[in-house]
């Protein structure tokens, strides 16, 4: 029975198929919102599905000069990592399928595997655009990853636990954590946009400069799988931020409302800002983002050590 449960959790719900389709729906919602902000009608509901099926059905070109095994394996590794991360977060407001002490750290690392895979995939090909894209992707990882992690640790320290389900329960029992930790929320949300390489952090895949960045040489199946992995990461990231800062996720309705509100904010930011240069991205994150997140965290740690956390907040 146990293996059956594990298989269902991995393949259908909450991992596997369910997050996959949820990811496609969220990608559609994101594109539709951006289109509405730009005064357009936007794509149809099934657009991401049609894109993915078309890419899966296309010929896959394996360019000369790549390591064939890596070329094939990297997209699968990326998708596997993001789908595994789905097991540890409260998708749809249900308790996570698996939970242990410290799963917050594991989840954040699993989410980084996707970016790492994209970087390695770009460096694997001999094409100069992929190489530049890979360098930019990996540079950007170093800029947003630390602030994002610090921002995620804020609620963890307040809850006194590193377990996502416990932090979720803590956030639900208190006033929304966005109120005492505005900085943490902002850094987490903008860090999520950096993770997903959404504008204004899309320098790694800047179409106008470097064709498609690290993904330039991928066609067909590999590109489709990378796209799906990114969509899944969007859902998981939104779930994490909503669970930590917007008062936890207890039921499906809450999940839907809170993640869509977050999506609305990110779509607005996407259409508001133009693309940052890679040095501007790094500068902004380390001069502003990391410092603010660190300050936020230090204040929380100080309050906790003085024992005032429960009294004030």
């Amino acid at each position: 029975m146990n293996t059956l449960f594990a298989l269902i959790a991995l393949m259908i719900f909450p991992g596997g198929l369910f997050v996959l389709f949820a990811g496609l729906v969220y990608e559609w919602a994101d594109r539709k919102l951006v289109a509405q902000f730009q005064n357009r009608i936007g794509p149809r509901v099934f657009q991401p599905l049609a894109d993915v099926i078309k890419l899966l059905a296309k010929e896959e070109v394996v360019p000369v000069g790549v390591n064939g095994f890596l070329f094939m394996a990297l997209p699968i590794a990326a998708l596997a990592a993001t789908l595994t991360a789905a097991l540890y977060v409260p998708v749809v407001g249900l308790a996570p399928a698996y939970s242990f002490r410290g799963d917050l750290i594991v989840t954040i690392y699993l989410l980084s595997v996707l970016t790492l895979c994209i970087g390695v995939a770009g460096a694997n090909t001999a094409d100069r655009f992929s190489l530049i894209g890979a360098t930019r992707t990996l540079t950007q990882v170093f800029s947003y990853e630390a602030p994002f992690m610090l921002a995620m640790l804020g609620p963890a320290i307040m809850a006194g636990s590193w377990q996502i389900s416990e932090i979720n329960a803590y956030a639900a029992s208190k006033p929304w954590l966005i109120i005492p930790q505005v900085i943490g929320f902002l850094v987490a949300l903008v860090g999520l946009m950096g993770k997903l390489e959404l504008p204004p952090f899309d320098a790694p895949e800047a179409e106008t400069e470097i064709v498609a960045g690290a993904m330039t040489e991928y066609s067909g199946r590999g590109y489709a799988i990378f796209r799906i992995a990114k969509d899944v990461e969007l859902v998981i990231g939104l779930t994490l931020v909503a669970a930590f800062y917007l008062g936890g996720i207890g039921n499906p309705l809450e999940f839907l409302l809170k993640t869509v509100v977050l999506l609305l904010v990110t779509a607005g930011l996407q259409s508001l800002f133009a693309r940052l240069r890679i040095d501007q991205t790094v500068g902004m994150w380390w001069r502003v983002g990391a410092l603010l997140a660190l300050l936020n965290l230090l204040v929380l740690v100080g309050l906790r050590m003085l024992g005032w956390l429960g009294v004030w907040l």
Partner: protein
């Protein structure tokens, strides 16, 4: 494509593939020597006013991601090899839309010493969009005709 599945399943799979292809044509734009008039019209076509994302049409940077090559202008001797190479870089199935009179016959540049000729002399063309330059509506109509022909 190899036919490894039983016939009804293969048919259903083919239908799904065709549906996806019709609903998600990603384009790449190449100027093989035109005067830039058609290119400006193509850029106007992908502005919010005409909003091609309604049909799932997206302009891609990389030929590896594209299904439709939107090509403008006569082919100059310089750009013949590049056009050929971009076409070869695109994964199957791929389609070509020639935009503008020059792409059809050489247009105003017909007979020039530096012109190879029309686009169809270098790569197979599926749809021609006449005009000098064609309006954005005409370009959308041309792509829609291409998608229409895919249904058969």
């Amino acid at each position: 494509m190899e036919n490894s599945l039983p016939a009804p399943w293969q048919k259903a799979l083919d239908q799904i593939k065709t549906w996806a292809r019709i609903n998600s044509p990603w384009a790449i734009h190449y100027n093989s020597g035109s005067c830039n008039g058609c290119d400006i019209e193509i850029l106007a076509t992908i502005t919010p006013r005409y909003d091609l994302e309604r049909f799932g049409i997206k302009l891609q940077g990389s030929p590896r991601h594209a299904d439709v090559l939107i090509c403008t202008g006569p082919v100059t001797r310089q750009s013949r090899d590049r056009l050929r190479r971009i076409y070869d870089q695109m994964p199957d199935p791929k389609f070509v839309v020639a935009v503008g009179s020059c792409g059809i016959s050489g247009g105003a540049f017909h007979g020039c010493y530096n012109i190879v000729g029309s686009i169809s002399e270098v790569i197979p063309v599926d749809v021609y969009v006449p005009g000098c330059p064609p309006r954005p509506e005409a370009i959308i109509f041309g792509v829609a005709q291409l998608l229409e022909s895919l249904k058969k």
